[in-house]
Symmetry: C2
Subunit: 234 residues, 2 copies
């Protein structure tokens, strides 16, 4: 399970690093990955969109020089993973509608495709993804969703809202305060865009500790097997 967020460049980079580790993991076919919703700024209004550099300087108190250097460093690390990253001119805004669409995509088995489309849209493409339903619909259709159902979700603010909130409550219970945050078998937590080797170590450790199930039993319960159903004697 990985918690990722659209407005989080380290999630974009961290997903690529995790996937590199998973691709080389000998038991990768036994690993199920579920992406969950997490908003960094859940109270943000939909139409509150601003340039990333403005946000970094005005809200996070960086100097313009620091902000540009941080973006350049992120761009270099993204490039090292083979990812396009626009270090200048990006927007920042609410990710709530993207997360709602991602829950629709999960039901349609298009989750991974839409997540990648939103990442590219957020970090690599010139056109903003924020407060622009047409852009979100375009990306949803490119990921294989139906245009009408994507529009339907955007038109109804309650659609999949509970699912987004439930993921966020679960993240809170697991102790995640930032993203990316990776949880393995509810036992190990990997915080941040760690190098692929760290994900390999976490996968190896979690896999190695899988133990046979401990039975909880009251005795004499009915079961069905390949040779019929056993009816317990009272």
């Amino acid at each position: 399970m990985a918690s990722l967020v659209q407005a989080c460049p380290w999630c974009y980079v961290g997903k690529a690093r995790f996937e590199k580790a998973l691709a080389a993991f000998p038991h990768r076919d036994g690993v199920e990955v579920v992406h969950r919703s997490f908003e960094l700024d859940p109270g943000r209004a939909r139409d509150d969109v601003q340039p990333v550099l403005t946000m970094l300087t005005a809200e996070y108190g960086m100097s313009e020089e620091q902000a540009r250097a941080g973006e350049d460093s992120l761009g270099a690390q993204a490039a090292a993973e083979g990812l396009d990253y626009r270090t200048r001119g990006r927007d920042h805004g609410s990710t709530f509608d993207m997360h709602r669409l991602l829950h629709l995509a999960r039901e349609r088995s298009r989750h991974e495709a839409l997540l990648d489309a939103f990442y590219r849209g957020s970090f690599a493409d010139e056109r903003s993804v924020f407060n622009d339903d047409e852009r979100l619909v375009e990306l949803a259709v490119s990921a294989g969703l139906g245009e009408d159902e994507a529009r339907g979700v955007l038109a109804d603010p309650a659609a999949y809202a509970d699912e987004v909130r439930a993921d966020e409550r679960e993240a809170g219970r697991l102790g995640a305060t930032g993203v990316p945050f990776f949880v393995l078998d509810r036992a190990y937590g990997v915080s941040g865009a760690q190098p692929a080797e760290v994900f390999t170590r976490a996968l190896t450790r979690a896999w190695g500790e899988r133990t046979p199930l401990e039975p909880v039993d009251g005795g004499g319960a009915g079961t069905c097997g390949p040779h019929g159903c056993a009816v317990p004697q009272d």
Copy 2:
């Protein structure tokens, strides 16, 4: 996670007992239930349908008296859970197509509804569910699926076949040889239609043993939090 099967009367009864325990469990909102596919007889041909009593006597070597007594006992235990159960005149056959439809239903968030519809169809209704596409479509529509997409799955034997097989391989890895089989947090296994108290004990034990995640860390990884994204110093 619960593994259930349509042709398994103890799964029908066990699901009701598990749900009784879950409804009274104080942390039920934190419990996510996923139903998985498991066929008792995966090699069975689609058109190989026979009366349950014939199967019990011819394939499982019961006397007719034993078979009827077993069905009567199952009927009594089902009734004690408030479930209708026809003890005479039911059919037995391949459940593969039902499992494929259940995977479609999972993507449409109609899984629970379809599972219950198939249970009622299999154990309570007079009309057989086996080798009868029209009946399966009727039940799928009653559970909220689209008629065309249900027909599409039935017309294409490859649709969701891999998903059914993947669930069955996972059941094998977990050591399940019969059903119902309930797995909690990949730590505890409950085999059979145990009394609700046993499920309560298993839920309580699994919940009580949830521990904080152990961090796996390489140091200095980039993360984004409510106050911005930290760029590690190289």
